[in-house]
Amino acid sequence: MALLEVNKLSKAFGGVKAVQNVSFSIDAGIVYSVIGPNGAGKTTLFNLITGVYTPSEGEIRLDGKEIAGAGPHTLARLGVARTFQNLQVCMNMTALENVMVGAHLRLDRNLIKAALRFPALRRRDGELRDEAAALMHFVGLDKYVAARADAMPYGALKRLEIARALAAKPRLLFLDEPAAGLNPKETIEVDHLVRKVADSGVTVVLVEHDMKMVMNLSDRILVLDYGKKLTEGSAAEVRRNPDVIAAYLGAHA
């Protein structure tokens, strides 16, 4: 059984049909990419699967269990994590705290124990601090461990979101354009980073406009166009597909 199954999923915003009747499934342990021109519905698809939007129609199954309509915090419990195309970093916190928030569900979140500074809670927080610093190291942000989030450059914030998502120890990680706005060197670093994450056993779903990166990393690719599924297949298959070349690659390459 596939880890994630999406069946006839649709989402309309008023008259705009952002996602229409899209079906696909993702096996555990692979890198699965979603590509398509601007406005094709990639981010909307991510928002639907991660519970940020409620589908207009269709089913989403994680491990065979229906999750369509469940809220994002419920999905987080089931091992789903994500990053955002338009940065969603908490600028009122330090970089390290942003990563620590990622581990929210793995901690004792009791208010009273926190206010009274229970030793067990403090000890766990200390461990978490080290864990978060290690994650920042893992994504290549060593030099920002003591930084405030609002003092970090764009490229670093993109990676900070990845570190935060990883802090949740997810099974299924959605990355929405992790290389957007990065320079070529940073893009290659993110490419390697995604590889490392995938190799660590996390199933990765990637939206990215950088075709080299997509072709490099993906086991399978879903192509969306105007909210509809154009095709789906291995990197080689997608690259050869004449519809894809016409709709997407042709326009960009």
Partner: protein, 312 residues
């Protein structure tokens, strides 16, 4: 080695000041002022957790103070309750009311809490004013002294130490809270609601929890004020008092624990300083609020901390 950047350093300073203050103050008038500063500081700490840290605005917070104050007054006077139970009952009532109001509101997107709490505060003031048989109406009512284990709290000397201890503990607890999984979740939902949701924060629950907590802080301090002053009037729950509290948060600094204390201290002293301009306090508060928003939107403590090149 001592960590000079530790946020707890300020707490020790506060404790030291609180410990020597009664010996430095010339008379009961200043003791009274210090007590009222400390009471306000505790309320503002709770309110800042809601406004500054969680990013939710309450414009009717004095309503919860009113519930606490009048629970203490009415239950002890008319029903012969022990003051401690009356105080607890007021706090419990505030907790239930806050949760009932907040839960449906936080399910909506947007800043509806401000509107709802504004209405709540006004309704409470009207109820207190109109239920004259129980509350003494606009004239207010006397409150019996607070006694615990046969020891009666009486006068500035007693109350000062109670209130000072409560303040120090509240500052300590607030510092603990904001640097904990709960506190980080709270700040995260303010920083990015959707990001906090996708890491598993149940934002409605957290917003309700902090609103309830701040309401309980207010209620307890309302009870303390009632017993300390020995008299309550409907003004305690009034709109102006709510605005005063929000102004203290804004001036001291949103999301700043020490800012809460400083804001409360400064604005509690202000009416004394303006005593000759009786009746103009409201205008002064409004003006200060506007100028702070324009020239120092982060408030005093965060702005000063930034100037001194360290985080608060």
């Amino acid at each position: 080695m001592m960590n000079f950047r530790s946020p707890y350093l300020g707490l020790w300073l506060l404790v030291a000041v609180l410990a020597v203050l009664p010996f430095a103050l010339p008379n009961a008038f200043y003791m009274d002022l210090a007590i009222r500063m400390a009471i306000n500081a505790v309320i503002v700490l709770g309110l800042n957790l809601l406004i500054g840290f969680a990013g939710q605005i309450s414009l009717g917070h004095a309503g919860f103070l009113g519930i606490g104050a009048y629970s203490s007054a009415v239950l002890t006077t008319h029903f012969n309750w022990h003051p401690a139970f009356a105080m607890a009952a007021g706090a419990a009532a505030c907790a239930v009311l806050a949760a009932l109001v907040a839960r449906p509101i936080f399910k909506l997107k947007g800043h509806y809490l401000a509107m709802a709490t504004l209405g709540l505060g006004i309704i409470l003031t009207i109820v207190i004013t109109n239920e004259g048989a129980w509350t003494g109406g606009p004239d207010g009512m006397p409150v019996p002294p607070f006694a615990l284990f046969g020891f009666e709290l009486y006068g500035e000397k007693h109350w000062y130490w109670v209130v000072a201890a409560v303040l120090a503990i509240s500052v300590w607890a607030s510092l603990n809270l904001i640097d904990s999984p709960f506190g980080r979740a709270l700040r995260a939902l303010h920083g990015s609601e959707v990001a906090s949701q996708v890491v598993g924060v149940d934002v409605v629950r957290y917003k309700v929890a902090i609103f309830v907590l701040s309401a309980v802080f207010a209620s307890l301090m309302g009870s303390v004020t009632a017993h300390y002053v020995g008299f309550v009037t409907p003004g305690v729950a009034g709109f102006f008092h709510s605005i005063e509290l929000v102004t203290m948060v804004v001036i001291g600094g949103m999301a700043s624990v020490y800012g809460s204390v400083l804001g409360a201290v400064l604005l509690t002293a202000l009416p004394q300083a303006l005593a000759t301009f009786e009746g103009w306090e409201t205008v002064a508060f409004g003006t200060i609020l506007v100028f702070t928003m324009i020239f120092m939107p982060k408030g005093l403590v965060p702005t000063l901390a930034a100037k001194l090149g360290r985080k608060d």
